[in-house]
Symmetry: C2
């Protein structure tokens, strides 16, 4: 039998407790030893507050002294406490000692994943962070292992459970955004301040991580176009449903020509026959398109203590195997030639909702604006409300900057009250 692999954990919350429970499950003991190629020894669990009871964690293992834990001859440090700066300090401290690190820290990995991976490599340690994107879905390992030899063209996902829960409720119940958000908050699916989720910041951090692994981009986290779901109305969701679509918040990273990458977060209408359309509630999904592999998709729980802990455990087993065999994974070389391409230069179909004064000739004027900007209309629906009418357009593929120019010109018309929705339409099939 090999020597045990010494594991320290920072964080005794939902994920930390669920991980300790997995490590202590007698029924899985043999499978863990098989997979790790050695027994795993839990050396300690660092927490902020020793007085809090921690379900399933032996109190003798609890400590508040993180640096001492890192310094106790660890093989692997698991960081599931969250926070950016404190986590960075601990992770750097561990890596500099040659201790491998497994973390679920999405914000830190989006901000400094490349640099920390380099630091790990310099000290012959591993840095794994499967749980940072898509919860239980083993997508990052697939990108760095199964698909390592593949040229990936596009990564597209539903990577934020809060917004997906809200949009699912709007679709199912016909509720408006405000009440769906309130319900999500009441049920604990959304924070009291939901900004990070509903404005797309959380999804953008995941796009940053996915893009780095899929394409080797070394772009800044700011180079992601970002639009949240706060502007999505019940009438938009209902129009989508009638037209055979559902509205989802997507995170997208895709190659554009030989040297470009578009990275963006935005709501989109997806055909209801597409697998992404069936991803409901707090589920996550990631769709990957490779030149040779064709389309691939992963679905699973995007959050929650136990699902996240299974992703952390998968990383921990990988790191343990590497320690026992005296090796570490080498991070991929980046591709410094890839530059960020503004989404305006890309073609897409769009849905536009235009509120107009209901009088003769308005439709002709509105349609004329579309035509002048090279935006071709695929279908139009008109609904009247007294003096006003709502025009709902689906366009053929058009450049986003032409669609934006159309919106600007429409908004300036006397007969147009407002353009109250402008949402991308994804028409890709999946077979």
């Amino acid at each position: 039998m090999e020597r045990p692999v010494r594991v320290g954990v920072i964080g005794g919350g939902f994920v930390g407790s669920a991980l300790v429970e997995l490590l202590n499950d007698p029924e899985r003991h043999e499978a863990l030893v098989d997979a790790a190629t050695a027994p795993l020894e839990l050396v300690g669990v660092a927490v902020r507050d020793l007085s809090k009871s921690r379900r399933g964690i032996d109190s003798a293992l609890l400590t508040t002294d993180v640096e001492k834990l890192i310094d106790s001859d660890l093989d692997v440090l698991v960081e599931v406490a969250g926070g950016v700066e404190s986590a960075r300090t601990y992770i750097e401290s561990a890596l500099k000692r040659g201790v491998s690190v497994v973390t679920a820290n999405k914000a830190l990995m989006a901000d400094s994943g490349t640099q920390l991976a380099q630091l790990a490599h310099e000290h012959e340690a591993d840095l794994f962070y499967e749980a940072a994107v898509g919860g239980a879905i083993p997508i990052l390992r697939a990108l760095r292992s199964s698909l390592a030899g593949e040229r990936i063209e596009r990564v597209m996902g539903i990577v934020n459970g809060t917004t997906n829960y809200i949009l699912t409720q709007m679709t199912r119940e016909g509720s408006d955004y405000a009440s769906a958000l309130a319900e999500a908050q009441a049920l604990g699916f959304a924070e009291a301040d939901p900004t990070a989720d509903v404005e797309g910041f959380d999804a953008a951090a995941k796009v940053q991580i996915l893009s780095t692994l899929a394409f080797g981009t070394r772009l800044s986290g700011d180079e992601i176009a970002r639009e949240g779901i706060t502007g999505v109305r019940d009438v938009d969701v209902e129009f989508a449903r009638r037209s055979g679509y559902v509205i989802k918040l997507l995170g997208v990273a895709e190659r554009v020509g030989p040297f470009g990458v578009s990275r963006r977060v935005h709501p989109a209408m997806i055909p209801s026959s597409h697998p992404l359309a069936t991803v409901n509630g707090a589920m996550n999904a990631v769709f990957v398109e490779g030149v040779k592999s064709g389309p691939l998709m992963w679905l699973g729980q995007g959050a929650g203590g136990a699902p996240t802990a299974t992703a952390v455990l998968g990383d921990l087993l990988d790191a343990a195997r590497n320690r026992i065999s005296g090796r570490h994974d080498v991070p991929f070389s980046g591709d410094l030639s890839l530059r960020y391409v503004d989404a305006g230069e890309l073609p897409s179909a769009f849905y536009l909702s235009v509120d107009v004064l209901d009088r003769p000739g308005v439709l002709a004027v509105v349609a004329g604006v579309f035509g002048r900007h090279d935006v071709s209309i695929r279908s139009m629906e008109q609904a009247g409300f007294g003096d006003e009418a709502r025009l709902s357009f689906l366009t053929h593929h058009a450049l986003q900057l032409n669609v934006s120019a159309t919106v600007t010109e429409l908004t300036a018309l006397d007969s147009v009250d407002s353009v109250s929705a402008c949402i991308r339409v994804i028409d890709a099939s999946f077979e």
Copy 2:
């Protein structure tokens, strides 16, 4: 720079050629070296017929002498020629020399995967076969790596592209089985003798492989209940559609109690809102349910030279990394306590189609038979055709053996012409 990893390939068909193309792609060269942690050197490609032209393969690499190729100081042998006995000979020969093996050979792995994995382990070599199940989908690596620490309760998949193509056409075009099969044959999606696909033998081989990896079962390949799609009629597909379902051929392996595993292949009605229902044409999907991870699903191309080659390449990169670091993956210990449970003991909802003589009292008699066997009816639809009527039933959950007894007793009734469909209904949601 590390020494090159010496690779030999058996098979110069679609998969072999696509693999060689991937290995020779100058744009991916650096990524491959990064992922393999060494350059890959293609030593030779063994083929049956040297006179055939092989797109993209340097003719100087071609050979008909497989044993000599295996004996040329190889690190990894890739077997993509198919056939069972010859492949077994070559793979055993390579493993006994300590050469790692990557194969796409589903039939051989279903038959002898456990024994060959043991042989590999004894000789400190790897045996990987990602391409044997689900084409490009990296599901086997996920089972042996990311989910190694997880207790898996169920694996369920659409793992045969031919039958999925046929069922998709029946759903979309309303065509009957015979004409959908003929079309699939004309387009190359089905063999001239389609038995292996349409009778579920191919799917059963994949269930055998998945069950071995997910649960460590050491059961024989015969211990899989198997029902193909030849009995699925256009009226069944149409009834499913009207009721909010689609019919798919599923391969299933699931735990039953502490010591049981049910393994089966059969058509099933799946809610059209379930992600599996959106897997159309020749696509494949595998759904995995873990105790902690919750439901996970993988979708992708189930066949084709290039997609299959990407799965082979992923394995090859894994095997190469292991060679360079002087290690090999250890196969999981099996779980010899798991026994095969007959599907009859399991509950499921069912759809039954019963052709009856249309006369007073028949429905009461038929319904009485259901009741006597403890099969509770959820809904019924009657369609008349002159003297005859077709009764379509959806049941609540019932034991399969009770449903079988119902079918037997119904068939014996004078007023019943036949029970022409008895198909499981899956009502699991996915969130």
